[in-house]
Symmetry: C2
């Protein structure tokens, strides 16, 4: 298991307003507002730490808010929750639409709860434009899990860029962990770049597959198989069982063609039937084996550190690009330079130099 990090007294002190926070630039009003925000966040964090689901829900709504005033409050809330976070297993689950992700998560979640775990399910779906996200439709298929007091299911933030959704999901993970959830499941919609984003925020990445020609190739092509720590062939029941077993062998062969991972973990294959509740226990065993190996060789912690660094650099780079290309001076000159390039009057490299000089 990942090392649980206990809050130190130094960290606790930081949760109030420290003297250093008051600078010459701060007006009295700002300090007052800050106090108010800190107080609101303080109440919320208390309830979240008690495992209050309503408070957790409110906290995530705050984190997802597009209101600029809420951003400060959200950041304050996250900062207060951080010392209590990081102590769960984060599992990413992906697979093409129709593979049975929701049914699997229902079966898997219920199994984990039967072991005494608390399970949170978040989703990443940047393509979703409706307000409650696409996972809402799936909720009916997660009926038991939704009703369970030890489960927390949250549809994905919507109407945003992948970067925005990813940030909010990562911050939601922190709140869920602070609320005492042991297992955080992040579901992807199984299209586009969402897998890469999820892979960069979980400890273990599970790929659900169906039997059927071409699927292996699709997974290889999109680089998903390379990311998977385990591949589970779902719907391995009835007439399909034999084919599922064959697919398992095929995926084993494919996995062995990849170079050894730095985790020293050899990705596993499994078959399961989420619908019939078969093979679910085995997948949890695989995940536990992964955690044991990667905790022993310290890859588990190293990976989380690298993920943090990845998101840090990623966020900075995106912002740098946005700042540059949204500058009205740049927008105007960019059009001009593209025109010159198209008329063979300059090269992309010289044009880039002109644009970069303009910014300075």
């Amino acid at each position: 298991m990942a090392k649980q990090i206990k809050p130190t007294s130094a960290l606790k002190e930081q949760q109030g307003i420290s003297q250093s926070e008051i600078t010459n630039q701060d007006s009295i009003d700002v300090i007052k507002n800050k106090r108010k925000v800190q107080l609101q966040a303080k109440t919320l964090v208390k309830d979240i730490l008690k495992g209050n689901i309503a408070a957790l829900s409110r906290g995530i709504t705050l984190v997802e808010s597009k209101n600029k005033a809420h951003l400060k409050e959200a950041n304050s809330l996250i900062k207060k929750c951080l010392p209590y976070a990081n102590n769960s297993i984060r599992i990413g689950i992906t697979g093409v639409p129709g593979v049975g992700k929701s049914t699997f998560i229902e079966a898997f979640g219920n199994y984990l709860i039967s072991l005494g775990k608390k399970v949170a399910v978040l989703a990443i779906d940047p393509s979703s434009t409706i307000s409650k996200g696409s996972i809402l439709g799936d909720k009916t298929r997660m009926e038991d899990l939704v009703k369970n007091p030890n489960a927390f299911i949250r549809p994905s933030a919507s109407g945003e860029s992948l970067g925005g959704v990813a940030r909010k999901t990562r911050e939601s993970i922190i709140l869920c962990e602070a609320a005492g959830f042991d297992v955080i499941i992040i579901e992807t919609v199984g299209v586009g770049q969402s897998e890469t984003a999820v892979h960069s925020m979980v400890d273990f990445f599970l790929l659900l597959q169906l039997t059927g020609a071409g699927d292996e190739l699709q997974g290889i092509k999109r680089g998903i198989i390379e990311m998977a720590d385990a591949i589970a062939i779902n719907k391995a029941d009835g007439d399909n069982l034999k084919r599922a077993k064959l697919a398992k062998v095929e995926f084993e062969r494919i996995l062995h063609l990849y170079p050894e991972k730095s985790s020293q973990w050899q990705p596993k294959t499994a078959i399961c039937s989420a619908l019939k509740n078969e093979g679910i226990e085995n997948i949890w065993k695989i995940i536990q084996a992964y955690i044991q190996i990667t905790s022993e060789n310290n890859f588990f912690n190293k990976k989380r550190k690298e993920q943090n660094k990845f998101w840090l650099i990623q966020t900075i780079e995106n912002q740098l690009k946005m700042n540059f290309f949204n500058n009205p001076k740049i927008i105007k000159e960019l059009q001009k330079q593209i025109g010159l390039i198209e008329n063979n009057e300059t090269t992309p490299f010289v044009a880039a130099e002109v644009l970069l000089k303009l910014k300075k």
Copy 2:
């Protein structure tokens, strides 16, 4: 064929020093140096336009120079050559080491010359650290081509980042075209990210393959097959001919699994033996068919425009990142913020905000 762009009188005028180039910031010395540089570039460009190979060689050396003073001269030279460029077919050739790229280029180049073409061969090899690049060893295997006055073979720029090598190769293409070369072949070493770079600077991308299990998978995994406009199975001779034919069928099957390209071109497969000079003509026929289709539907020109834009944006983004992360203030604060993240005192997103504010 791509539309040949004729220099206009307006463009010709730009090749001298225009009044607007003299600003308050320029000192007399700078103007003098500029005149000198322009004169040198002017002489060089005259000889290059005559098809003088020695001048072309000198021009490329200038473009490849790391001397900052040479950069201005190089940019001036390229600007003068630009109106005479863009009128060749640019072909990228890749394949794993041992696939026979050099033998193929020798056979293919000699065939094109026999048709009355002038053929330039450039290489991209960012991994090369020796001064003349790795293609030098191959020169002995391109003996006939090297001696031919209608061929120009240039080893890759070395000891540089892929971005640097790519820029220099793209600029060398312009000089080769200005020197009257009809076909520009860009060879990659077949490892790392060099294929993506080459794919972004050629009209047609040819993948050479060997027969043998696992190769298909490697190509799919690395995204190379997706980029290929044609796959040629080389060494299709003797005992290997039957296997090559089977591999051709297998690659055809794989190619059909990919969605249709925006070029409306369905990638082709072929077999050849560069050593025995067999199947070379067929590959040229495939390339001609590609050019015809993509010229008719205007994809050919559209792709070149998109490539220019790609290199423009790419160059700017790389420079923005370098400027930011090489700033001593940022380097210091980045270390601090990473420390805070590792101690769970901040999140990557809040840390990114702190760093971005610092830059302003």
